[in-house]
C-alpha cells in the first residue's frame, strides 16, 4: 500500500535530517503531538526545528496470520487499530490516544506510541510496548536509513536496537516505520466491580496474579476495585464464580477513560504523577490526594502539588519511582517548578552510559535534545 508519495516523504525527511546534521540544528520530532506533554519541552533552550512525520502514513504490510503489522510511523493509532479489529486482532499494549483540544481530537500515532513506550490497562497482563516490537526502520544520527529487527517472531541477529527505540522518545533517531506483533482479540470483555479499600483491593489483585485467569485490566479508585476479564462467553461465565464483584455495563467506556486519561479522575488542575512500583507492593502511598491504581497496583496515578523531591522519596523505599507524567497543568500554575527533572534521576554510572550511547548514536545531538534528561 506504500506508494511513490510515501517514498518522497521519506526522502524529504531524510533530507531534513541531513540538513540538520550539517547545520547543527536540533530537531523536534513530532506527528500527532498527543503526548507532547510527556517529558521536557525540546524548544525550551534550543532553536529546534520541527520534523513532522504526520504525513508519513500508511500500512506497509499486514497479514493477520503472521501476527505482525508493519506501518509508517505517522499512521494514526485509530486507523491501525480499526484495521486490526477487522481481523479480530489488537495491539497487546493497548496504547493510550490522549485525545485533546476542544473537539477531543484523536491524533495519536503508532510512532509516538513506540517512542514514548506508554502502555494502557492491558500492559500488566499481555505485555509492554517493547515486548511487542519486532522491527524498526529509522533515520540514524548520520542521516542514513537503517533497519533493525524485522517482521518475524524470533530474531537474534545483531543488537536489539528496535526494542531500544521504545521509550527513547526520539533522542536516538527518527522512527520511520515499525513492525509490531499483534495478538488475537478476545471474543468478549466483562468488567466486574467490588467495594474495597485500597489495601483490600491490592491484596485481592495479588491473589489473582497467582492464577491463570484471563484478566486483562485491573483498577482501584474511590473505594472500588474493577477487573476486566477477556475470553469466550463460556469462559467468562465461569470467571464470574471465580472472581468477586458484580458485572457493570459501561466497562468499555471506563477502561477507555483510564487508557486515554479522559476519566474524570484526570480532570484536575494539579501535576499528574505516575508511580511505578513492584507489582506486589501492598503499601498505600502516603499522600492525601486521591489515587487511581492500575496494573494490580504496579501503576498508580496521583494529582498532587507535593514537591517533586518528596514524591520521588516516597517511591524509593518501595523499589519504585515516580515520574511527573503530565506537567501541562503545572506549567500554568506552578512556573517555579519548570526546571526540575521530570523523570527520576539515573545512577551516575548509568547516566554516563546513557550519554555515551546518545553521543554514539546521535553524534551531533540533533534528535529531541533534553527530551528525557538534560544532555541526552
Amino acid at each position: 500500500m506504500t506508494n511513490i508519495t510515501q517514498n518522497d516523504i521519506t526522502t524529504a525527511l531524510q533530507d531534513q535530517v541531513k540538513q540538520a546534521i550539517s547545520s547543527n540544528t536540533p530537531l523536534s520530532i513530532q506527528a500527532g503531538n498527543s503526548k507532547r506533554f510527556y517529558g521536557h519541552s525540546i524548544d525550551e533552550n534550543t532553536n529546534a526545528k520541527p520534523l513532522d512525520l504526520s504525513s508519513h502514513t500508511g500500512i506497509i504490510n499486514y497479514d493477520p496470520t503472521e501476527l505482525c503489522a508493519t506501518v509508517q510511523a505517522g499512521t494514526k493509532l485509530s486507523e491501525l487499530e480499526a484495521l486490526l479489529a477487522q481481523n479480530n486482532q489488537i495491539l497487546a499494549f493497548e496504547p493510550p490516544h490522549y485525545p485533546s483540544g476542544t473537539n477531543n481530537q484523536d491524533t495519536a500515532t503508532i510512532g509516538g506510541a513506540i517512542a514514548t513506550g506508554i502502555a494502557g490497562p492491558r500492559r500488566a497482563y499481555t505485555g509492554s510496548v517493547r515486548d511487542a516490537i519486532l522491527g524498526v526502520k529509522m533515520i540514524n544520527g548520520t542521516g542514513e536509513i537503517a533497519n533493525f529487527g524485522g517482521e518475524v517472531m524470533k530474531n537474534v541477529a545483531g543488537y536489539d536496537l528496535s526494542r531500544m527505540m521504545v521509550r527513547s522518545q526520539g533522542t536516538l533517531g527518527v522512527i520511520l516505520s515499525v513492525s509490531v506483533r499483534v495478538i488475537p482479540q478476545p471474543e468478549q470483555n466483562m468488567t466486574l466491580a467490588f467495594d474495597a479499600s485500597q489495601t483490600e483491593a491490592l491484596s485481592y489483585f495479588q491473589e489473582l496474579r497467582k492464577t491463570n485467569l484471563p484478566i486483562t485490566a485491573t483498577a482501584w479508585l474511590n473505594d472500588q476495585g474493577l477487573i476486566r476479564v477477556s475470553a469466550s462467553e463460556q469462559v467468562l461465565k465461569s470467571c464470574k464464580s471465580k472472581i468477586k464483584g458484580d458485572e457493570i455495563t459501561n466497562g468499555g467506556d471506563f477502561w477507555q477513560g483510564l487508557r486515554d486519561h479522559t476519566h474524570e479522575f484526570f480532570n484536575k488542575n494539579r501535576p499528574l504523577w505516575r508511580f511505578s512500583l513492584p507489582p506486589a507492593s501492598s503499601s498505600v502511598i502516603p499522600l492525601d490526594d486521591a489515587q487511581l491504581l492500575e496494573w494490580d497496583g504496579a501503576q498508580r496515578w496521583v494529582h498532587s502539588n507535593t514537591p517533586a523531591n518528596i514524591i520521588q522519596d516516597i517511591a524509593k523505599p518501595h523499589n519504585g519511582y515516580a515520574t511527573l507524567f503530565n506537567s501541562n497543568s503545572r506549567i500554568e500554575t506552578h512556573n517555579n517548578l519548570s526546571n526540575m527533572d521530570i523523570f527520576p534521576a539515573l545512577e551516575p554510572a548509568l547516566l554516563t552510559l546513557h550519554q555515551s550511547l546518545k553521543s554514539q548514536m546521535d553524534p551531533q545531538g540533533i534528535f529531541n535534545p533534553n527530551r528525557i534528561y538534560r544532555g541526552l
Binding site: 497479514d63 496470520t65 503472521e66 501476527l67 479480530n88 486482532q89 513506550g117 500492559r123 505485555g127 509492554s128 517493547r130 515486548d131 548520520t142 537503517a146 524485522g150 518475524v152 517472531m153 524470533k154 530474531n155 537474534v156 541477529a157 545483531g158 543488537y159 536489539d160 536496537l161 526494542r163 531500544m164 521504545v166 521509550r167 527513547s168 495478538i183 488475537p184 495479588q206 496474579r209 497467582k210 491463570n212 484471563p214 469466550s232 463460556q234 469462559v235 465461569s238 511505578s276 513492584p278 507489582p279 504496579a298 501503576q299 523499589n319 519504585g320 519511582y321 515520574t323 527520576p344 539515573l346 554510572a349 548509568l350 552510559l353 546513557h354 550511547l357 553521543s359 548514536m361 528525557i372
Partner: protein, 489 residues
C-alpha cells in the same frame, strides 16, 4: 592475535593476586575444556581461564584486563550453538560457573533473583513448590545457564506463547569493561531511561559481563493437551499452522516435522508416529479446563478442515511425553542416519513455510545432500539439518554452501539468519547478507558506547565492514554432538 609474553606474565601475575589459586587456570591441560562451546567445530585455547565467585572478583578481573588491553570472553555453561564463547587466543575466558546460586524467590512479585551460572531448569525446579515456573525453555535447559540465555536471548518450544528471554527478564546487573557495576531494568514494569535491558539481552557478551539476573516467574498452567496431526503434504501442514493462528489461537507450542524427520525419529525412539505421511504437526495447548476444552475442539476441527489425515489428542502426561519424545530426539535421530549433520537456525514469515521447504528440497537435489526438517512452525523458526559425511572430500564445503543458500533464502523471504542460536563466531559472515554498512556501523557505535577498546568478546556477532564471504554452521561429526545427553530442538 596472540598476546605478548610480557603482557601475559603481567596478566597472570595480577589475576593471581586477586583470585584464589584454583580460580585461575593457565596450563594447557586445564584450559583444554574451555577451548570450545557447544559448537565444537571451532576451537581455540585462551591465555587463561578465570573462575571468580564474587562480583568484586569479576570487577577486579575486568579492570586488570582493561588496563592490559586483554580481551575477555564470558562463558556460562558452554552449551551455545554458535561459538559465542569461543576463546580469543590473546585473551581470557571469564567462566561464571561458580555463580550458581538462586539468591531468592519472591512468590509475591513472581520473580527470582539468580546468579548467571544457574541452570535454566533449576529455576523452574526451585519455583515449583510455589506453583511457579520460568517460561523460556531452550532445549538444553538441563545444562544451559541463565546468564548464557540472557546473552543469547534464548527461545524454546514455548516462545510462541510465552516469549523469549527478553520477555521474561526484569533486571540484569552487569559489570562494564571499566569494572563498574550497573543495574539495568528494575523490579517495576518499566524503568526510567533507555531500555538497556533489551539491548544487553542477546548482545552475546559484547557489552558487559552479566553477574545477576531477576527473572519473571509465571503461575503453572492448570492443564495441558497435545495434538498430533498428520498430513499428506507439507504445504497442507503449513496452511494448518496459518489457520490456527488466524483463528485467534496462540498454542503454547506448534512444531512441524517432515517425512525424513518422522522416519529418523521413529526409528530412534518409537514414538508411534505415522510413517506413511509427509508431515506431522505437534500442537500443545494449555490453560484452564474450560478454555482448553474450547481450544482443543477448535484446533481439532481446523486441522481436519486443512486436510489433516489423522489427529491424535494426548490427554495424559505419559501420552504427551510420547508424542514429544520423537520431536525432542530429532537431532540425535538425524545423527544416527548420517555421519554428520549441519544445523541451520533461520526464521521466516509463517506464510513462506511451504515455499521455503520446497526450495530447500530443490537445493537438496541440486547439492545431492539429504535434509531433515524439524522446526518451530508457530514462530517460523526453521532448523533444517543437512546430512553429510565429512569423511568424503569436499562434502563439508558443499554442505556449507548449501547452508549459506538456505540462510540467504530466509533473508530473501523477509526472515533472519538466526532465530535463537545467536550469531557468535559461526554466522558472523551471514550478518553481511542481512545488514548493510549503515546498519553494521550503527552496531559498532553501540559497541563503542559500552566497550570503546573492543575487549569484550571481540570478533563475534558483528562483522567488520570488509569481512563478507564464508558461510558457517553447526557441525556434528559422526553424530557426536557436544553434550549428547541434551535434547536439541
Amino acid at each position: 592475535m596472540t598476546i605478548e609474553a610480557a603482557t601475559r606474565n603481567k596478566l597472570i601475575f595480577q589475576l593471581a593476586e586477586v583470585l584464589p589459586e584454583n580460580f585461575l587456570l593457565t596450563t594447557k591441560e586445564e584450559l583444554r575444556p574451555y577451548e570450545c562451546d557447544g559448537l565444537a567445530a571451532y576451537k581455540r585455547l585462551p591465555v587463561a581461564v578465570a573462575l571468580p565467585d564474587s562480583i568484586e572478583q569479576v570487577q577486579q578481573i575486568v579492570k586488570i584486563c582493561s588496563q592490559l588491553q586483554v580481551p575477555v570472553v564470558a562463558r556460562g555453561a558452554g552449551t551455545g550453538l554458535s561459538a559465542g564463547a569461543l576463546p580469543h587466543e590473546g585473551g581470557i575466558v571469564l567462566g561464571l560457573s561458580r555463580f550458581n546460586k538462586i539468591v531468592s524467590i519472591d512468590s509475591e512479585n513472581l520473580t527470582a533473583v539468580v546468579q548467571p551460572g544457574v541452570r535454566n531448569l533449576a529455576i523452574s525446579e526451585a519455583a515449583s513448590p510455589y506453583g511457579l515456573y520460568y517460561a523460556p525453555d531452550p532445549s538444553s535447559q538441563l545444562a544451559c545457564s541463565i546468564g548464557g540465555n540472557v546473552a543469547e536471548n534464548s527461545g524454546g518450544v514455548h516462545s510462541l506463547k510465552y516469549g523469549q528471554t527478553v520477555h521474561n527478564v526484569m533486571q540484569v546487573k552487569i559489570v562494564t569493561i571499566d569494572g563498574e557495576l550497573i543495574t539495568l531494568g528494575s523490579e517495576t514494569l518499566d524503568t526510567p531511561g533507555y531500555d538497556l535491558l533489551a539491548l544487553i539481552t542477546g548482545s552475546e557478551g559484547m557489552l558487559g559481563i552479566i553477574v545477576e539476573i531477576v527473572v519473571k516467574l509465571l503461575p503453572k498452567a492448570e492443564s495441558v493437551k497435545v495434538l498430533m496431526a498428520s498430513f499428506d503434504s507439507i504445504e497442507d501442514a503449513g496452511h494448518a499452522v496459518a489457520a490456527i493462528i488466524a483463528d485467534g489461537i496462540i498454542p503454547a507450542g506448534l512444531e512441524l516435522m517432515d517425512k525424513a524427520a518422522i522416519h529418523a525419529a521413529e526409528d530412534f525412539v518409537h514414538a508411534n508416529y505415522p510413517l506413511d505421511v509427509a508431515a506431522i504437526l505437534l500442537c500443545e495447548l494449555d490453560g484452564d479446563d474450560i478454555q482448553l476444552a474450547e481450544q482443543v475442539e477448535k484446533v481439532d476441527t481446523l486441522l481436519k478442515e486443512k486436510k489433516a489425515v489423522a489427529v491424535e489428542i494426548a490427554d495424559s502426561p505419559e501420552e504427551q511425553a510420547r508424542l514429544w519424545a520423537g520431536r525432542k530426539a530429532a537431532f540425535s535421530a538425524a545423527g544416527r542416519i548420517s555421519a554428520d549433520y549441519y544445523c541451520m537456525d533461520g526464521t521466516i514469515p509463517r506464510k513462506q513455510i511451504a515455499y521455503v521447504l520446497k526450495r530447500i528440497t530443490e537445493l537438496s537435489e541440486k547439492y545431492g545432500l539429504r535434509v531433515v526438517n524439524v522446526f518451530h512452525a508457530g514462530d517460523g523458526n526453521l532448523h533444517p539439518l543437512i546430512l553429510y559425511d565429512a569423511g568424503i572430500e569436499g562434502e563439508l564445503e558443499t554442505t556449507e554452501k548449501f547452508g549459506g543458500d538456505i540462510l540467504e533464502l530466509c533473508v530473501e523471504v523477509g526472515g533472519t539468519i538466526t532465530g535463537e542460536h545467536g550469531v557468535g563466531y559461526e554466522k558472523i559472515d551471514q550478518m553481511c547478507v542481512q545488514f548493510n554498512d549503515a546498519e553494521l556501523t550503527q552496531f559498532f557505535a553501540v559497541k563503542r558506547a559500552f566497550d570503546a577498546d573492543s575487549l569484550l568478546n571481540p570478533g563475534k556477532a558483528i562483522p567488520t565492514l570488509h569481512r563478507c564471504a564464508e558461510l558457517g554452521g553447526m557441525h556434528v561429526h559422526n553424530g557426536e554432538l557436544p553434550h549428547p545427553e541434551l535434547p536439541r530442538f
